[in-house]
Symmetry: C2
Subunit: 372 residues, 2 copies
Amino acid sequence: MTVPPRRALTDEERVDWLRLSRTAQVGPITFYALLARYGSAKAAIQALPELAARAGRAKPAPVPPAGEIRREIERAERIGARYLAAHEPDYPEALAAIEDAPPVIVVGRNIGLFERPAVAIVGARNASLNGKKMAARLAAELGEAGFVVVSGLARGIDTEAHKAALAHGTMAVVAGGIDIVYPPENRDLQARIFDQHCIVAEAPLGTEPMARHFPRRNRIISGLTPGVVVVEAAKNSGSLITARMALEQGREVFAVPGSPLDPRAQGANGLIRDGATLTETADDVLRVLTSRPISRRRTAQEPLLLPEPAGEPEVEEARKVILEALSPVPVAVDELVRDCQVSLPVVLTILLELELAGRLERQAGQRVSLVP
Amino acid sequence: MTVPPRRALTDEERVDWLRLSRTAQVGPITFYALLARYGSAKAAIQALPELAARAGRAKPAPVPPAGEIRREIERAERIGARYLAAHEPDYPEALAAIEDAPPVIVVGRNIGLFERPAVAIVGARNASLNGKKMAARLAAELGEAGFVVVSGLARGIDTEAHKAALAHGTMAVVAGGIDIVYPPENRDLQARIFDQHCIVAEAPLGTEPMARHFPRRNRIISGLTPGVVVVEAAKNSGSLITARMALEQGREVFAVPGSPLDPRAQGANGLIRDGATLTETADDVLRVLTSRPISRRRTAQEPLLLPEPAGEPEVEEARKVILEALSPVPVAVDELVRDCQVSLPVVLTILLELELAGRLERQAGQRVSLVP
């Protein structure tokens, strides 16, 4: 039950990782579970039809063909981007530590930035002048202190943070393909970051960013850093999702306070109320980040990643019990194990099959629910 | 070692309380210690010359003559104000619970407000429009919830808080005499609060407010309430003194956050950083205040208030030891007791004498220092 050793993959292995990770119903957690159970992405791909069938799905989700993946990799290499798998040495260590780390990321170009300490600055698209000023000031000061500033290349706060960090190093995590310009007004900034700094994407080349991509993108912003600074954020904004993900990942959250009369301050104020570090200057951030290391992947989640294979007759018997215990209301995996009197490896095996059959959804906090 | 029972004083007793409490070198803590040791203000006044002489002062500070005090009381009664001593039933209970409660306050006119729950709202004189709006909104909402709004009648936040609370009940604590208009532009407001609500003063009638009066006044604002809301406060501002006093008194502190770019927000943000409740609406205040009662006078301080008289020979012996242990650097009374191997009542007696001789200063946290 240890984290796998880091090693460079062969080109063929990397193609298999991409094929498996881009199969519908194979989220990152399922990806790592399959990898642990079958030893390689290739073996997992071969096992998919049988796994899905056992959970009652006749026709499993299609796995992208190897040729298609190879052509994408060639196109990426032509523009100077490369693919990094989560077990490879060049993959950013902080990101590898989150339970749902992207199995493969596309990056360009200066991956040397991954070696430096990083901090994220995120906030409202419709930021106030004051908010933009704060973002720029914090980014410049944190850059001067040696930190790479990570953000999402969105309008408003993100843009200001990137710009102010250009002198020291900045990293943009995009929701679409690494080759897609978005938002259009940041064309030059995006090109400059790609050429001289670093852009990170999880989506295949050519993917147009869509609303549903952004929350998944946000987990990468927080995953790349030991701490996220929220400058202006309305209630229910994307920046709050990033902050929530940071907390789930065991990272620090910083928030810049603002007047309760400005709706753009309510999200950040709420974070402070919930325990985020009230942040007025870069020193407030540095004081915390220079004193607390990132914890490696939380051991509580490792069993989910590396289940022991269970004997088939035992699984057969337990399948009905587990299915009856599940419902559209999320339930903790631990609870299933306890209530159903079934061993953890067996429960995990059955959940894996159900997920691959499109009948199960994974939720935050190791909880699962049946797809209605 | 119990808190004295509350009872109305005779007119003569009240005159003695005022005479003793207005003697130089007799701060509130010394006042209560003298009262406990000699049983009455009258007896304490008679003992003052001897006490001061023992600590090496030939001529003790003069005690105001009874005739002067009686004339002041008559003038106060003509304008509708009255005097309340800390042991009297009408004296506000929350204020009586602080260790340095004013022995006597001058109040006018509606002392019925003391019976209602109260909350303080304080902040910057040079408040922003947003700050004033917040103060007014909070005052109106807290008033509607049944709370009397206490403040200091200063320009800016205080003024807005009082005005917005006029519909429900408000109390102003002034630094000078109750009959002195200050600041001049609040003449009408002050008159209206005096006539229909309540003004509280500790200073003698006719006292012009001076800078040194304000910190002492601030302890009354926080002392009257279970919680203080700070709306805008620069670093080192008077509102922060009120907040600090509230904490020392075991009261709640609430602070409205603001942009770090506005210097008027830095004090309030600092309070939040130090643990004050981040406050955006009156609900944030009500949630806390309706769930936590004010604690009565902290028992840790009661021994200081009611020392047992110690035998004179024992005191004589200990006097030199204690004097040598003291210095201009504040030291805790507990530490003196431990290090000098002298009993607490003896230490307290010697400290009392030194204070009356003008040779000792009392500091926060039951610490004392020698006057250089």
